[in-house]
Symmetry: C2
Subunit: 535 residues, 2 copies
């Protein structure tokens, strides 16, 4: 790992453009924070000015066709080598991530998130090599054949603050998907963890070179101004944008990108409602209260799938449940918020909830003088309050904060469900016996149309990387409810165009569409039948 021109801790870190670490065109700099102390870390990173973005765009355009022509095998080699190099540097990477995010080193970064990141890269490699993801479809009589292929422009990835490894712009699910699908990539690091991103980008550059891919297949900038971001996502060299972050910032980027005809995949916000039907709270209120707290406080409440809205009925079991929740949420907290911005946003959310008449049952205050800490916080409102003000009570805020909505009765619970915005997930907890079944059958059809992933008796955190996983949902949770950002190979489809070949001569077809199955393992839809055979 060698970043070339950098030679002093006080110098500004170079950016990765056109296959080399270059001094940034920059008149501004920034530093990351150590959330555990609240102090800035010493390393200095550039806020790139437009010339950096322009250089990266020109390079992406230059290599776009070459990247599209890289064989699936070679793409897989790169992804695997990259995973290997990251693993070799696991110690340095996770230590840096811990410093920059204060996420627990052992339980979270080393044992969970780092392996998840590696697993994603390896799964992507396997899926690329297997080739079924491109959904080769062949109509033999008409000689029309189609498959998914590269977009023909760069994919720009904006990564979030909350997963410095598994959703990092240079190594996460979006990166793996965009490269797997054959596109050049321009990454914007999250300014909360630039050092982590730098260490991984160094591995990335080595992996590109070792695998024989163009060294500029993936480029990385640490930061740039919002205005430059709008120009970037609407530039002719760009085909698609993947954004994970705040709804306000995401919607502005979405508008700029879509106005210019670019694809925009945004993961924009979600409160992940959890409904408790009456039976389950009679049966095991204590267990589910603990389960809820555990999910809500995971990563200090900084998961996009954090259960932030809890709905149950004001019966005896419901009141006991709320009482118990209040006790649990009043326990001393552990963990740090990722940045001053997260802290400020959480304070504002609390103030807004208070101003809107929600009752504070636990927490509600910053913990001063020890990094970015905020009390574990629980609010309660009545179902009527929710129905009077549904937008206010559905605002996502990172931090261990939940709003309990106590419905008068099941009819009101249904009305509440109808007022939900699009969400990534919703959970319905119900009795192990049949007693909640009728209610479930009334509630589920409403919920189903409003979320990507519907869970039974399970909290929404923990998003497995598997083919059936769907991490997406109706607007405003994401921009398109048909696409997922997690789950391989489905996540590749965001960065793919459909390629149709009509009457094209056999030896000019891509391997996936020729008579012979390219590897004997690839699934193809031939005349309406899925098969691994040759034609």
């Amino acid at each position: 790992m060698n970043d070339g021109s950098y030679d002093s801790r006080q110098a500004v870190r170079p950016v990765l453009i056109a296959g080399a670490w270059q001094t940034a065109a920059s008149s501004e700099t920034f530093q990351a924070y150590n959330p555990a102390t609240g102090q800035k870390l010493p390393e200095i990173y550039p806020v790139s000015a437009w010339p950096d973005l322009e250089k990266a765009l020109a390079e992406s355009r230059r290599i776009c066709q070459e990247v599209a022509s890289i064989s699936p095998e070679k793409r897989a080699v790169f992804l695997n080598i990259y995973a290997d190099l990251l693993e070799k540097n696991q110690e340095a990477i996770t230590t840096m991530a811990h410093l920059e995010t204060a996420l627990p080193l052992k339980s979270r970064l080393r044992s969970t998130e780092f392996p998840r990141m590696i697993n994603q890269l390896r799964q992507a490699a396997a899926a690329v090599e297997e080739r079924s993801w491109c959904q080769a479809t062949i109509d033999t009589k008409l000689n029309i054949r189609s498959k998914y292929g590269p977009l023909g422009g760069a994919v720009v990835i904006f990564s979030p603050n909350n997963f410095p490894l598994a959703f990092n712009a240079v190594a996460g699910s979006d990166l793996a998907s965009a490269v797997a699908a054959g596109n050049p990539v321009i990454c914007k690091a999250h300014p909360g963890h630039p050092g982590t991103t730098r260490l991984m980008a160094e591995c990335l550059l080595d992996a590109l070179e070792e695998a024989g891919l163009p060294a500029s297949t993936v480029q990385m900038l640490y930061h740039f101004r919002a205005e430059d971001g709008f120009h970037l996502v609407s530039h002719p060299a760009v085909a698609a944008v993947a954004f994970t972050g705040s709804r306000a910032a995401g919607l502005r980027l979405k508008e700029a990108a879509e106005k210019a005809g670019k694809l925009f995949y945004g993961e924009l916000s979600s409160v992940n409602p959890v409904f408790f039907l009456p039976g389950i709270l009679k049966e095991k209120a204590e267990a589910v209260a603990l389960e809820l707290f555990s999910s809500c406080s995971l990563g200090c409440g900084q998961f996009c799938t954090k259960p932030g809205l809890i709905v149950f009925i004001n019966d005896e079991a419901g009141r006991k449940f709320l009482w118990r929740l209040q006790q649990i949420f009043n326990q001393p907290l552990s963990g740090y918020l990722l940045s001053p911005a997260v802290l400020e946003n959480l304070k504002k959310a609390v103030d807004k909830l208070k101003a809107s008449g929600a009752v504070l049952l636990a927490g509600g205050n910053q913990i001063p003088n020890c990094g970015f800490q905020f009390q574990t916080t629980l609010f309660a409102i009545t179902g009527t309050q929710f129905l009077q003000n549904p937008e206010t009570f559905q605002q996502e805020a990172f931090g261990t904060l939940a709003v309990a909505v106590v419905a008068d009765d099941f009819e009101q619970m249904l009305k509440i469900s109808e007022k939900l915005e699009g969400n990534l997930t919703a959970s319905i907890y119900s009795s192990g016996s049949e007693q909640d079944e009728e209610l479930y059958r009334k509630l589920e059809p409403i919920i189903r149309l409003k979320v990507g992933r519907l869970l039974n008796d399970k909290m929404p955190t923990g998003v497995a990387v598997s083919p059936a996983m769907h991490h997406g949902g109706p607007f405003p949770a994401t921009g398109h409810p048909g696409f997922t950002s997690v789950g391989i190979p489905a996540a590749f489809l965001r960065f793919s165009a459909r390629y149709c070949y009509d009457n094209v001569r056999e030896d000019r077809l891509p391997e996936e569409l020729r008579a012979k199955n390219p590897n004997g393992r690839m699934w193809r839809l031939v005349d309406g039948h899925w098969t691994q055979s040759d034609l």
Copy 2:
């Protein structure tokens, strides 16, 4: 077929809202033209004011959940009954379509377009019943299951002028797909053929009732103001918009829809370039010139896949080819333009080409006093002219109009291909022997990234309805290069959300995701293997 309140030829036709023909809220009216005479037809149709749109939206919202719960079998029954009823009324429908569009009754409307429309509805019915389209994906170990399902909001369909039957808002591919996928639909008829649309909508209402679907599953308005259209596509009750029409109108709707978080599928324009490599013109210039003319003049040049840009090299064979094209394009024309608007647009396009220095080789003038007719028109420009002004020479205009781009050499042909915008199709004609092979291998990778469907030795008109067909392409041909508007069942996916079920109890799963394959025929991806078996 009975449209209720209508009782006089001078009365304003009612609109189809909430399952009944209702008097429109309207202060303006319009009449369609007979393109063969240039005269207005007598029937009077309303330009709906906002209250009509609002009523339709409220009704779509009211029935959205009910429509989503209609079984696949029942949806298929509706589509088949609708096809039957249309067939029973074929005579009246095609006669009206002929009157309103002047498209040839026998060769086009009765023998080609009507059967295509019926075929699409029946293919959609079969695909819905078979269920494979929803791409059921099951990970048994994790108990995560996914499939495509309804969007949870209305689909709004804006249909084009050029296919009064097969792409009609109330009976075309978009309608079949949106209903098949389980969504309520609001159709905007094209004002060029309101009578045709009315006759079909009458069948539609009967079919909905006979099949036992909510009678308001599909609603239809004839026309409304542009401003009301923007409000419509951004309304909370709407989930997606399908638009086929002009780029200017489409982009304005796209912006309004996307800003509100709605899915917008637009087919916006395409010049469908045809490249002739040197060998083919030596071998059979005469045959391909006739083939080109035949495709270009199909439907009087009013196909979205009309070959409008022809690229070849200035060698002896190329010059002969152009000479021959000039003769062919100078033949007397047959056919009518669809409307005064198409005529005006074509005149403007001709004026612009002239002003930009293109040489007029054939046609170029309106034929007065006999309906909407315009001469068959051919322009020529040099490759250098194209490269100096690529946008001007890529403007779609309906009518039998083509621009021949004569490149200095193959290198210039490559440069021309690099300046192409996103298109629905591109064709490459090459020698039957190996002599063009090297050139093909250089040209194809550039073209591939810019079009949806790539053809060899074949003109782009004729878009088969088959699973591998892709009728789409990169922006600005469409809004998303991964989706197709033709090709069943792929076209359904535009109007579908991904539904994920995490740990959901077996008897609460949709049939497609339970252990038992619902019909023994449906393909499902179970633990990475496509199978028709039960779990």
